[in-house]
Structures are given as C-alpha cells and as structure tokens.
Symmetry: C2
DNA sequence: ATTAGCACTCATTTTTCAAGAGTGCTAATA
DNA sequence: TATTAGCACTCTTGAAAAATGAGTGCTAAT
C-alpha cells in the first residue's frame, strides 16, 4: 500500500525471531526469550512494546493474556514470502544440498530397485517424502494435455470378445475388452483396424468430434453401430487414461503435532487424505498458479481444501518432457519447517524429471 | 475337555447378557443391570455370585475392583461361536434380510452406475461397507491361481521400443513396453511372435521353467538374449498381474470407538491400513482357513496382524467362477456388532459374485 | 439356594490452592 | 525521546484434596 514498508527493520527481525522460535518449540514465545535470542541487545520490555505493535498489525497473537505470542497466518505469510525471495537468488544453500545429498542418494537407490511402473514409483516418492519430512504427503499421476492417439489395435479373443489396445503418444497404453452381440470374423477385424487407424491416428481427443465419428460410421456401412461402440470405448479409455490418481502417505504423521491430533481434526484430515476426492482442489490450484519456482505455499486458511484450514500445504509442480504435469504436496501443521520442505520439494522436482526419463 | 459343558445354562444366559449389554453400551456392566435385563428373575446378589464364577473361569474381567465386568477374548469367543452355530442353521434372519434389503439395493445401484473397472468396483465395495457398518474395511483384488498364458502379441512402436500385450486366461491383460539396444525389424517381430506363441501358449507361470526358456533361446539363435529379455518381462508381468492389491476405507471410523482412539493406538492402526503391507497376513489367514461359511472371526489377540491386537477382525472370502478368490475384511473394536457384521458380509459375498458376472 | 444389607474400594469429577510465565503500564534513566 | 527497570495483575497449569457414586464381596437372614 504505502511505499514505505509496513515493518521497519527491527520489527522484521523480531517477527522473524518469534516465528523461528515458535517453529522450533511449538510454544508461545515471550519477550524475554526474544531478548536473549537476537543480537539486538534490547531488553524484554522493549521487545514487549514492539510485540504489542506487531500484534496490533496482525502479525502475531497471544492465545491468552499472560502467554507469549504465536504467529498469525499473516505473520507466517510474511516469513514465507521473505524466505522464498531469498531462496530464489540462492536457489539452494550449500549446506542444505550437502545435507540432502544422502537423502537423495537413498531415494534414487530405493526408487531404482523395484520400480517397474510409474504408479509404484510415485507411491514410493510419496512414502519417502513422508518418512523424510514427518509430514503427510500426496503425489499425483502426471496429467497429460492434448493426448494424441498413436494407433489402435483390435484383436479377437474369441467368445464374441474383442481386445482393443490403444496406444497414445508417449507410449501410454490402455486396454479395453468388449463384448459384441455376435461373433466377429478375422476379416472384419482387419477391416476395422484399417478403418480406425487411417482415420484416427494422430488425432487428439478433442479432434474426434461428431463429424468424424459419423463419417466413419458411414464408411463402415453395416458395421456402423459396431464402430460407434468402439469409438465410444476409445474416447472413454483415453479420458480414463487421463484420470487423475492421487497417492498419499504418512497420514499418521499428523499425530506428531499436538495442534492437529485432537481426534476430530485428525479424523477429518485423515479422511480427506484417504478419500482423496477433495485433494483435487489442491492439484487444480497448483497447476493454475504458475509462479516461476513451481512451488506454492498455502498457509492455514489460504489452502484450497476446506478441511485443511488448520494446516499448511506446500505443493510443487513437476513436469515431464512431454508437457505432462503432476503435483507433489506436503501437508503439515502451520508451524511446519517451510525452509526444509520447500528445499526438499525443489530437489525432488528435479530428480523426478530425471527418473522419468529413465522409466519409459 | 470334560463331556459336560463348562457352563450351565444359567451362566450361559448371564454371560450372553453381559456381552450383549457391553456391546451396546461399551461400559462395564454391573450385576444390577443384568438382574433387570434378563428374565431370570434373579437378584443382583445372585448375579454377582455367578459373575464372580465367570470371572474365575476367565470369561469376564472387571477393570478394577468396583466396576462391572467386561468380556475377555474367551468370553467373546464363546459368544461368537454360539452365534455362528445358530446362524449356520438359520442362515439369515428374516428381519435382518428385510433391514438389509434397502442397503443392498442402494449398493447395487451405486455400483452399477459408474463402474467400468474391477478395481473401482472393489474400492466402492470397501467404501460402502465402511459407511454402512461404521468400521474400517479392506477389500482385496481377487487372486488367481495357476494363471495360464493365452497369447502374447509384440508390436513395434518405433524408436527401438516394442510393445508386448500379454493376454491371460480370463482375459486378463497386461502391457509392457521395452527398449532394445538396436532397432528391430518387422520380420523379426513376426518371427518372435510365432516363436513365443507356439511355445508358451497355455502354459502357467510355473510351467515356464528353465528348460523351456533355454530351449527357446536356442531356437531363437542370434536373438537369444532378446528372447530372454522378453521372457523375463512376461514372467514378471504375469507375477505382477497376480499382484495382490488391497483397498481400504473408513479408517477414520476407529475414532468412533474410544478404546481405539487414543492417538498411539489410532496412529498405529491407521498406519497399518494405509501401508497395507501387513494386511496381507489377514488375507493369507483368510484364504487358508477354509471353514464352510467362508467367514472368519478374529477376536483381539487372535488376529494375525500384530498391530490389531486391540481390534476384532471379520473376514470373508468371496469366490468367482474361475476360482479367483478375494478377501473382504472388517476391522473394528473388540465390541463390534458381530451379528450384523457377519450378516452383512454374508450378503455381500453373494452379491459380489453376481456383480462380477456382469462385469467382464 | 437365594437375597437383603452393609462396609469398602476405586475411578471420576469438582474444588481449591500454589506456582510460574508473561504481560501492560508507570516511572526512572541515558 | 527511546529504552529500561519494576511491579501489579492475569491467566494457565499442575497437584492435592474432597465429594460422588457405581459396584463389589461378604455375612447373615430367609
């Protein structure tokens, strides 16, 4: 608003100190503590005055008259913003990289071991993150946009059943078995294969509109209804392939934080993680808000998921070469270790890209 | 042991009454309550004496001197055994069927609506069960035994990649893409297809032993290593197809039962449900113990999963026509409504069979 | 064999009290 | 004018004490 910053330097230092200590201890922090903690060389009385100001400005509150202060969402927001802008320049502090080196190595090793499917990989990522951070985590499958059909291959299975193998760009493969009302011959299948592939190959889902479909139905002549059935299956399958899946892990980590572990809050949270339905909001918000870093921090009420208003959520977008995007999220208490979490997510984001290149 | 039953009729009645009331209230039940509850027309003092006997025999305990009694595992076991033997004759009480009729209808409707994949169906079953019973639930994918290979189909994807579509009996289909070190021609693929299918079709996993593999390697001549690679992929894929998947739901229902919701117990339980790893014990135990009814009740310490020793678990085997077997489990507090749970599971077991026939 | 009566036990709840942490305000100080 | 020391006051926390009440075990009466 004003062009002078709202907080002078001393207030900033004090606020930072308050939040730092609160993150570490989880207890309201008093003026005496700060007066010792900082190198400001100020008495507790002075700090008290400053803290009263900070309270007026809405950065901190005291839970009751004779307690220390705890940060408000606004306070956390200040802290995180400051942190993010510092991190942008430095990208990753030497010591942090050092410290996380081992983690990454361990992760790589673990991931390379028994991973033959992307979903297993993602599940493992969730699990590892949960273990390393002590927060709850979620990881989504990558979402493709503008999926192109590479080819379709029909095969008779006998018994009036036909197997359609649908291959999309990026070698994403889906199967669909369907029953016909009557037995189908080898020639018919051959014909259908040719018809489907000459018309559809290279098209995106959006391009398979009504006009193309009805044209194909005409060309198929007597097999019109059959073609329609197959097309529907294809469309549905492609849509399904794009179906968002969410893996979560470490839900019970929330019991490590007293402010979240009273049973009603905990129950609600775990439910949300278990049902996964509501987590899609998180993903949407994450994919839309494209800041440069690919990292998004939601503090308390800011989070797009109703049931998580007592938590903070940090999300990261990971992106594969083909423009497939997915989301990783970390859910913890407001007083989470933002610095470590953001750092870890930045690392994972990068690593994940490399790993996917190895997997097909 | 002795040929006279350990409990005379009066003791049985009283024990039954104690357990019944305890199931309903969750509080230790005292002698006065029982003296009113039963039609035995006995004073509380008499009941007190009988209860003291029951305590000596290990069917009940009092949590402290001046409290009522609660059932021990042995007590529950008696209760459940009695119930199961009664149910075997009656199969399903008229009123229960009536009462559950609506549930089943609702379920069928829901399941038929948006279910196009077996795994979604099973997930929904878990969810519905959890909602209807207020306990935590798990459902496994059906396990096949002696999976036979129907055929394999290799297709070039270009870019040194080959798609293998593996079709098993029961039209279970898996895909696997793999990279070769060098480009592969159309003829080579054709040859490989023929070689693979003439040799392998109709074989189970167990039959693909070393002698067959090395024989094929020889026949393939220069493509030996290639064939080996493909075979490995096939074997792995089939094993993977048989990979047990477990869906859980309603984990947070455990918060409805105070005896389970202190945070360490709850955390451990939810973890187990989330990780799913340990639940396989449950499945194994369920599939092995083949009693006539297909229903198995584990009380407290009896359960094959360590972390669930404060719970009771009821499992049911469902079986599809092709001999595929899966497990449904309900996890709740010791004082769960065994009668309702067993009844519901019996119904679901039957319904599920019908539904699978509809799905492919 | 059953029951009434009574003393006793122990968990639970409520009340009371003391300790401690931290604040806000005022007056003194540099 | 900005800082600090000092003090009264507030409110949480924890422990101890007291009251409540449900339920038992035992004895003596029926």
């Amino acid at each position: 608003m004003a062009d002078t910053p709202e907080l002078d330097e001393r207030k900033e230092t004090i606020l930072h100190a308050v939040i730092d200590t609160y993150l570490a201890t989880g207890e309201p922090v008093g003026s005496r503590t700060i007066s010792k903690y900082t190198d400001l060389k100020l008495s507790s009385a002075t700090i008290r005055n400053e803290m009263a100001d900070l309270e007026d400005m809405g950065y901190v509150v005291s839970p009751h008259t004779s307690a220390g202060r705890i940060p408000t969402d606004k306070g956390y927001r200040f802290y995180v913003n400051q942190m993010m802008s510092v991190m942008k320049d430095i990208n990753a502090r030497e010591e942090d990289v050092q410290e996380r080196e081992q983690e990454v190595q361990e992760m790589k090793k673990f991931l390379n071991e028994k991973v033959d499917r992307v979903d297993t990989l993602l599940q493992n990522v969730a699990k590892l993150l949960a273990n390393n951070t002590n927060y709850a985590t979620m990881v989504t499958t990558p979402q493709m946009s503008g999926n192109k059909l590479k080819f379709v291959q029909l095969t008779a299975l006998g018994d009036k059943k036909v197997l359609a193998v649908i291959v999309m760009d990026g070698n994403l493969i889906r199967n669909k078995v369907f029953d016909f009302s009557e037995e189908i011959t080898q020639e018919q299948i051959l014909k259908l294969n040719i018809l489907l592939n000459t018309t559809l190959n290279g098209l995106t889902l959006e391009q398979m509109n009504m006009s193309i479909i009805s044209k194909m139905e005409q060309q198929a002549g007597p097999h019109g209804p059959l073609v329609r059935e197959i097309l529907n299956a294809i469309v549905e399958t492609i849509q399904n392939a794009d179906h968002l899946q969410i893996y979560t892990s470490g839900a019970t980590n929330i019991f490590k934080y007293p402010e979240l572990s009273d049973s009603s809050t905990a129950s609600e949270l775990i439910s949300t993680l278990e049902e996964k339905q509501m987590l899609t909001n998180l993903v949407k918000a994450d994919l839309e808000g494209d800041n440069e870093t690919g990292i998004q921090v939601y503090i308390g009420e800011e989070t797009p998921v109703e049931t998580m208003k007592d938590c903070s959520v940090v999300t990261a977008t990971y992106e594969l070469q083909d423009g497939m995007k997915g989301t990783i999220g970390i859910i913890g208490p407001r007083r989470m270790d933002y610095e470590k979490v953001v750092g870890t997510l930045k690392t994972i984001r990068t690593e994940l890209d490399g790993m996917f290149k190895k997997q097909s």
